[in-house]
Symmetry: C2
Subunit: 387 residues, 2 copies
């Protein structure tokens, strides 16, 4: 029928958009520990829009989404359109290059959402075109970037994405005058923190926090049992870690980054294939990251508590006047309902504000005017971190 | 029919509950400036549940709700049931006692929601019973108290209800290191503050705020025009007000309370028939009210702004350890959407926590353990403040 074949191009595009949404859903399959790799999904479509095979990536060392789908399709892959959420890689890492695999399987056309930002892996589209395939880029690109926002930033900037977790009273305190701080946030917020830790691959604190609070920094479930997969525990600072500290208890990997420089610490973590750092303090360490423009997301738990005195939850940011205040963009406000009769807290999620339009500023070094990390030019590839 | 007459008692109760809901809605008629009086509604019901007349109170010096309904009913009031949101008054103030008026009109039965907490006006139920009327109290009492929560507290405690407005950054600052504070909250929040000022009858600041910021403290509409009805501007503190300050510009009434003691200031305002104080600072003044247990509601505007230094929005509360932290109850969280491209703020509303169960505390004077004002025993009547 003309509605099915005469306007095949249009129908094909419709099929392809639907297939891309399916590929995005496959990529987002929960429970797969993917770091340091991106989430990727792939759907192979026949000429009539029927699905020939589906695939998705399950984590480092396992087949890429395209390879997964091709393996399931077998000979039926010939002549299909591959709809994939990320530009097929051009790089032999733990697995072979997907671009070459698609060519060899006889795929006719490739539609992908996000171009590969990885300088080591990119170039797949050129390889495909050179082999005579039709290639289209950018379908649902925004959704694909959102799906892998952490990985994308990490690869583009050549350093891990940094989420700063902040817990404070309504009057901005993280401890009372006598130093006590247990507990300002409620149990439900503390559980929520464990949930977020589990989404990162690294939990980062300063040596001062280890000395003062001796945190375990492990991820525990609702019954307070440690999860099987634990993020790396990273402690930064030049002081030694005293023996017997809980971060040295062997319940998860721990690394001591002997530097006070946020950029140097992140470079070391990038070298360990870390993509997502969950920064838990203390206030001075976090302030150093903010001043360096190295915070990509703020998750702030505001407890309905007043202290009127005590340590500030946020250290000195080098800001002296309101016009220079940091104004990150509020992206979410959630009331974290209390459990066991406790009060709720309010969780605010914020991302750095886009850089203001240049105003002839003659203070380019002023940290308050550069709350956002700017991509290094060119971004340094993360060694060994290709997917 | 039996369903209408045979179970008349039950149907009557059903009619009365419906009438009480109607009376509450009448009482809540918006736009009526009622302070210092409570909101009251009244419905007169015939034996068959039909409404004979309705009335509500429109403000000091105008007829009470019962008188309003009786006037509308005329001779038809005889034999009716009066459903009224507040116990009919027993007191001759600007108008005559309602209890007597109901008796004289031949009302047979009176159902009211909230007992009159006003020591000068109470006793209406006894007067009615003594005259042979059937009286029932407590129908939808919770709703009636909620409708007049500010007035009820003011009358029960013999002092105005205090709403403390607080504006702070996410890190609890009310100004930057150089003292600048314009603007931390957005325009939409500042408009919201004007809306709340208009609901109070008094705006209170310290002499220090007048000296430092010279605020007008008037209520202005969205076009920045002053409203016709303005709350009293109250400035407390022992320093003189410098001539030329905006609070002395005559655009609204202003009173200078020459005391630093919150309780003394509220007593003076009670003497001026003030029921609702909107406390706007500064931080030390607000802290003095909190320490004295004289804050009944906190409205906190948290701006998604970081300063890292500068004045704290909340002054010293005399709290040194987390166990003694004030933990008011969060009753509302609202995102105040920004206007004119500005960011949203988050508004938290809180009320003091109920007093903890006694734990054998031997520090009854510790303010941190008494975040809630306790009713004075007996509450002092507000002179001239009867409705």
């Amino acid at each position: 029928m003309s509605s099915e074949h005469g306007t095949g191009r249009t129908d094909g595009a419709g099929h392809e958009a639907a297939a891309m949404r399916r590929a995005l859903a496959l990529a987002a399959t929960p429970g797969v520990p993917l770091s340091p790799n991106p989430r990727v999904g792939c759907v192979l479509l026949a000429d009539d829009g029927a699905t020939v095979a589906e695939g998705f990536h399950r984590g480092a060392g396992t087949p890429h989404a395209e390879a997964d789908a091709l393996a399931r399709a077998g000979a039926a892959a010939r002549g299909t359109t591959a709809v994939v959420t990320l530009e097929p890689c051009n790089h032999t890492g733990r697995t072979g290059p997907c671009a070459q695999a698609l060519v060899e399987a006889g795929v006719r056309r490739v539609v992908y959402a996000q171009s590969d930002p990885n300088p080591v892996a990119r170039g797949g589209a050129e390889t495909l075109r050179a082999a005579g395939l039709v290639v289209e880029a950018g379908l649902l690109e925004h959704d694909a970037r959102a799906l892998n926002r952490v990985w994308t930033l990490a690869v583009e900037h050549g350093r891990p994405f940094v989420t700063w977790k902040l817990a404070a009273t309504l009057d901005g305190r993280s401890a009372a005058a006598d130093g006590t701080s247990r507990w300002i946030s409620g149990r439900a917020s503390r559980r929520d923190v464990h949930r977020l830790r589990a989404l990162a691959d690294t939990v980062l604190v300063g040596t001062g926090t280890v000395a003062a609070d001796d945190p375990a920094l492990t991820v525990r479930d609702e019954q307070d049992r440690p999860l099987e997969r634990q993020p790396l525990r990273a402690v930064m600072g030049e002081s030694d870690l005293a023996p017997g500290r809980r971060v040295l208890d062997g319940s998860a990997e721990t690394v001591h980054l002997r530097t006070r420089d946020p950029r140097a610490a992140l470079a070391q973590l990038a070298g360990l294939e870390r993509r997502h750092v969950f920064l838990e303090g203390g206030p001075r360490l976090a302030a150093a990251f903010v001043r360096a423009g190295l915070v990509d997301e703020i998750v702030a738990y505001v407890a309905p508590v007043l202290l009127g005195a005590g340590a500030s939850a946020v250290g000195d940011l080098g800001i002296s006047t309101v016009a220079a205040a940091l104004r990150p963009v509020l992206t979410d406000v959630t009331v974290i309902e209390g459990v066991a009769g406790e009060q709720p807290d309010v969780r605010l999620t914020l991302v750095p504000a886009p850089l203001p339009a240049p105003r002839g500023s003659d203070h380019p070094e002023h940290p308050a005017e550069h709350p956002v990390d700017q991509p290094a030019a060119p971004p340094a590839p993360i060694p060994g971190g290709t997917r």
